[in-house]
Symmetry: C2
Subunit: 304 residues, 2 copies
């Protein structure tokens, strides 16, 4: 992960009914639509996917200057099928054009043989008899570590080869996180603590010159009482921190995440930024940009 | 889940170098290629995806008569991007034409707002301003329950509305399953046992007339010592059982899974079937079909 200490990211969440081009429209939208490849006989999914790609490009253009990365929720693209996946590829391209890192938020996790294939899908692609299929080209991806360390290794190897990073779920931001992640384990600590130990152990092998590892951790902002303990357990991990804004987490509770350095945590905000645009009486792009700038300032004030 | 007690499934694993059309070629392959839509300027991924779709159609045609369902590993399609997702859609169509149920093996799991979107993607689609985007139309999907019950609920609701099912990971077939799933939890039992309790509890609300629930469980064949205990904990769950064949699991160890009825477990086999075709000196389709028929007979012999 690069990015030199900037810590806000933005997450286009796809074609919500309130943010799709059928609802509010912002500057550049029609231009964006015009640049999207149109199939011969576009169906509903094709048209919606074009709108999603245009919307994402617009959000990226509006707030990209205030962020270091964009976290793309893969479900929002997948629900539009092949056309949605094409919109995902176009959004990755738009983010890279704007100098943003792309975090593919798919929370994949599978047995080793399939985990290796997810690594190809997310990062650097695969050789086929017809040449290289390029893969998504993400700069990082989220993974689910439930089924064990052997499910992470192949993804980490793909990421490492591509100069990319991986964030393993450790303590998520949803209420249900208490069900399994917070269970106390025989011998002490919780399931999250064991996941943290796994991340710290595997991540040692993937540490860069900065001292930070390419294996990071997802640690939600909604239960900040865990953050200090998890930071101590994973001193080399970059923390990806969702849950600020719509889910109730507060930036001022996150200082402990940054004790490994300003570049050691990324705070992701989605609905609060797109919502700022939707709620604004003025130019939605300016409103979203201002919201992102305000968030960045508040993160910098707690990141030391 | 329907299917009346047949228990073998087949899993095309996508464009492996040993099974792709560039390697062994079987009857019907060129016909399959001809029926695949060709983009204006096909790239490597497009050509590979057409081959994957043709390969899957061929495998389905060869062994579909011996199986009740096909489990599609989504990673194998995703690594070919939008073209791969199109091949996935075509493979779902081919499976349905042959009367097979489709299990989308993506092991998704996310916070509630995103889990609902995965439900739309996997099952019944979403309304857009341009009409309905149809979704994948799977008959079942695998999900990862690490982050808690609230991540399962929205997927279950989508599945229920579509007449489909969900399989939550409970005790997987990979060696790394021991890392987290087998941890002993304070108060007794393992993490897998807690996942089983969650599945049993949530699944009560989604039980059909058969007594079986639309929320099932993934329980690997490689550690059969867990199966009896997990069956007792989840009496209404259909078990999806990977790990037979290449991973070392044996059909004769699986009788305990079927104690809730012949329709209460599905044994999935992938590499052993496609491998039988590749290893055969004769017609590969016949070899795969014979391997599937043999597997089905051995499953019936243990399923009571």
């Amino acid at each position: 992960m690069e990015g030199g200490g900037e810590s806000a990211t933005v997450t286009p969440t796809g074609p919500g009914t309130s943010t799709g081009p059928g609802a509010s429209s912002g500057p550049g939208e029609s231009t964006g639509l015009g640049t999207t490849a149109t199939p011969a006989s576009p169906g509903s999914a094709d048209l919606a996917a074009q709108a999603v790609a245009a919307h994402c490009r617009q959000v990226i253009a509006a707030v990209g200057g205030e962020c270091v990365a964009v976290k793309l929720q893969l479900a929002c693209f997948e629900r539009l099928g092949a056309a949605g996946w094409r919109a995902l590829e176009q959004t990755v391209e738009a983010a890279h054009e704007h100098g943003l890192l792309v975090i593919a938020d798919g929370k994949r996790g599978d047995v080793p043989v399939s985990a290796a294939v997810y690594g190809q899908a997310l990062f650097d692609g695969v050789d086929t008899p017809w040449g290289r299929a390029p893969g998504l080209g993400a700069d990082a991806a989220t993974v689910n570590p439930l089924i064990g360390g052997d499910s992470l290794d192949p993804v980490l190897e793909s990421a490492w080869a591509a100069g990319a990073g991986v964030f393993a779920l450790v303590r998520t931001s949803n209420p249900g996180a208490a069900d399994i992640e917070d269970l106390t384990v025989e011998g002490g600590g919780t399931v999250s603590d064991r996941l943290a130990a796994m991340v710290a152990g595997l991540g040692e092998r993937y540490a860069g010159e900065s001292g930070l590892s390419s294996l990071g951790a997802v640690v939600g902002a909604t239960a900040p009482e865990h953050i200090g303990r998890l930071r101590a357990a994973m001193p080399r991990a970059v923390f990806l921190i969702p849950g600020v804004g719509a889910q109730g987490g507060k930036v001022e509770d996150l200082a402990a995440a940054f004790t490994a350095g300003r570049a050691s945590a990324l705070v992701t905000v989605s609905r609060a930024l797109v919502g700022a645009a939707g709620d604004s009486a003025g130019d939605p792009s300016t409103a979203a940009r201002n919201a992102a700038a305000g968030l960045r300032a508040s993160i910098w004030s707690v990141s030391g």
